[in-house]
Symmetry: C2
Subunit: 107 residues, 2 copies
């Protein structure tokens, strides 16, 4: 389904920073991992996997959405969230590009 070109190009510095900060908390990465591996991933479902309150889950999801790593939409009373793998890949690409040259003497 072609993914849309969306985040394939470079990230804006602001988003780069938001992503890096979002990934800095191990719990949040675990959450991201759980979202990626689940089909439906409401707060309550996720909450049953982590020993944190639903307020904390909600907060983490908000941060992940703010960083662009996750897209979420209400489905009735539930929250449907999916991992934006393209954004994650854009981040890793940007990171490798920024810290790329220097080691290889070919440049």
């Amino acid at each position: 389904m072609t993914t849309g070109r969306s985040a394939r190009e470079a990230l804006r510095p602001e988003q780069f920073e938001l992503i890096a900060k979002a990934l800095a908390d191990p719990r949040r990465v675990a959450l991201l991992e759980a979202i990626a591996s689940e089909k439906s991933c409401g707060c309550t479902t996720l909450r049953s996997k982590f020993p944190v309150s639903k307020a904390t889950i909600s907060h983490h999801i908000k941060e992940l959405v703010r960083a662009g790593l996750v897209s979420a939409q209400r489905q009735g009373q539930f929250l449907q969230c999916r991992v934006r793998r393209d954004v994650l890949e854009a981040y890793t690409s940007s990171l490798l590009r920024r810290v790329g040259s220097g080691t290889d003497p070919a440049s």
Copy 2:
């Protein structure tokens, strides 16, 4: 010089977390970027590029070394530090692998 197999395989969770935290500070990423683009990169050289004290530079470098993203050795009174690009790549690989499946319905 074949790089050694070093960090090609998966990172230990502990190091994964250290790296993520190390990359969370924009200044530290900028520092990492500067180290990657410079040949010699002592604290004083780096300090001239960022408006921070040498104590702060030293602290950031220590964190980068602790995370394994940079290797540093004293060369006389100077500090010689290089970016461990293999470790950075191991991090991005681990990240993509962890948050990998789930979006594609093929599994």
